[in-house]
């Protein structure tokens, strides 16, 4: 009987001890993690109050999102408003190159890495997205110099992903990633013909530009991430693996 009670109590005591040990170990782990966690939080207390980024177009700030005084200050503007002339709707003439300098301003108080994702698409005159017309006809000329690189793996005909490889210091502007915007003139060589016949049998052939009234759209998204613990931060925020050189410049891992 005594042995039975002893045996009966032995198992829960053992299991309880194991649980206690696990708890203790996890507590040890959490203590280490907490140290890291609070350490980062402490840094965050200094840094998070001032991270910020702005999208610039031809030297003007279009959109921004800055953390100041414990809150996010943000504004979203519109691109390509300089194409609007004489109060008319935005119009663009195929083949003609328009100034379009897109860049990034670090509007925060900490240095950061930035990237830009561009989206291009077409809409027909009724506002419906038209995928039969190539986004490549929307020619945003990007010299890709002075630190900007193209992520070819992540880019498609509709989406272009660019990384600024250098650290963008606080309050500094990146070099422009683009200089001109042009709609390929080939779009003006495509026409449709319609034939109508009247009561007397006379035929009228009408030729019209196939893409007259089409609208193109350009969307730019700027992302910024802290430079501290860059490799992990970029992986966590953007999902890409980068190498970080001694001077702080980054390169995409193949």
């Amino acid at each position: 009987m005594k042995n039975k009670i002893k045996s009966f109590l032995l198992k829960p005591v053992f299991l309880l001890s194991a649980s206690g040990l696990l708890l203790a170990l996890s507590a040890l782990g959490s203590a280490q993690a907490a140290l890291t966690y609070y350490s980062e939080n402490y840094q965050a207390g200094v840094n998070i109050s001032s991270i910020g980024v702005s999208l610039m177009e031809n030297g003007e700030r279009v959109s921004y999102r800055d953390y100041n005084d414990g809150q996010w200050n943000e504004g979203t503007g519109k691109l390509l408003q300089h194409l609007k002339g004489d109060g008319k709707e935005n119009k663009i003439i195929p083949g003609k190159a328009y100034e379009e300098h897109l860049s990034v301003r670090n509007s925060g108080q900490i240095d950061s890495y930035v990237r830009v994702i561009l989206y291009k698409d077409w809409q027909d005159p009724k506002g419906r997205r038209d995928t039969s017309l190539s986004p490549e006809l929307i020619d945003l000329h990007m010299p890709l110099n002075e630190g900007w690189i193209l992520d070819e793996k992540a880019s498609t005909r509709e989406r272009t992903v660019l990384y600024y490889t250098k650290i963008l210091p606080s309050q500094a502007d990146s070099p422009a990633l683009s200089d001109t915007l042009k709609i390929n003139a080939d779009i003006a060589k495509k026409a449709t013909e319609s034939v109508t016949e009247d009561e007397k049998g006379y035929k009228t052939i009408t030729t019209e530009y196939a893409y007259n009234g089409y609208q193109f759209n350009l969307t730019a998204e700027v992302d910024a991430v802290q430079t501290h613990n860059a490799q992990e931060a970029i992986k966590s925020a953007w999902g890409v693996d980068v190498n970080v050189a001694a001077d702080g410049s980054i390169s995409l891992q193949q």
């Binding site: 999102r65 039969s132 030729t207 009234g213 193109f216 350009l218």
Partner: protein, 175 residues
């Protein structure tokens, strides 16, 4: 008993796991976005010749009555025997001897500058008809034909004319 121990172990693992969550979200990021677009302006334009007859000569101007900028050219037709008595000239008008679609020699007069929508060529093309020098007395016609082509733009945004452009009416796409 097994249930109790399982709960204890699970609780311990949960505690251990929850500790690592905090550090994974401690990176500071921000973003900004903007969109915009514009309508592609493609329009066939129309032009009209403005002729005025003064002192037996035709003073020709061309008006762009459409909504798009264009380039214009003028051709003046008359009988071959009147060639010595008709002289055509104008500042900013360039004469070119070309072949028409039938292979015949024709003289076209090209206005050198872009003609914006709604405007008239500021410089006139003058067709001087020297009737008094003619040895013929029968009636004759001097016909003015004008043509236009939409302005195209080069890489630098400079306008130019392509008088040989052919529109593609095939039913496919630029995909």
């Amino acid at each position: 008993m097994k249930k109790q121990s399982f709960c204890l172990a699970a609780a311990a693992l949960l505690l251990a796991g929850s500790v690592t969550v905090g550090s994974a979200i401690a990176y500071f990021t921000t973003y900004a976005t903007a969109s915009g677009g514009a309508e592609v302006e493609l329009g066939f334009t129309t032009t009209e010749p403005n002729e005025e007859i003064k002192d037996g000569s035709k003073h020709i101007k061309v008006e762009n009555t459409g909504a798009s900028d264009c380039f214009v050219r003028v051709r003046i037709l008359y009988g071959d025997r009147y060639e010595p008595y008709i002289r055509v000239s104008g500042e900013n008008w360039e004469e070119k001897l070309e072949k028409d679609q039938y292979g015949q020699d024709v003289r076209n007069f090209y206005y050198k500058d872009l003609l914006p929508a709604g405007e008239t060529t500021p410089d006139e093309l003058l067709a001087e008809i020297h009737v008094k020098e003619m040895e013929y007395t029968d009636d004759f016609n001097v016909i003015v034909i004008q043509e236009c082509t939409p302005a195209l733009y080069d890489e630098n945004g400079n306008p130019y004319a392509d008088w040989n452009v052919i529109l593609d009416t095939k039913q496919d796409s630029y995909n």
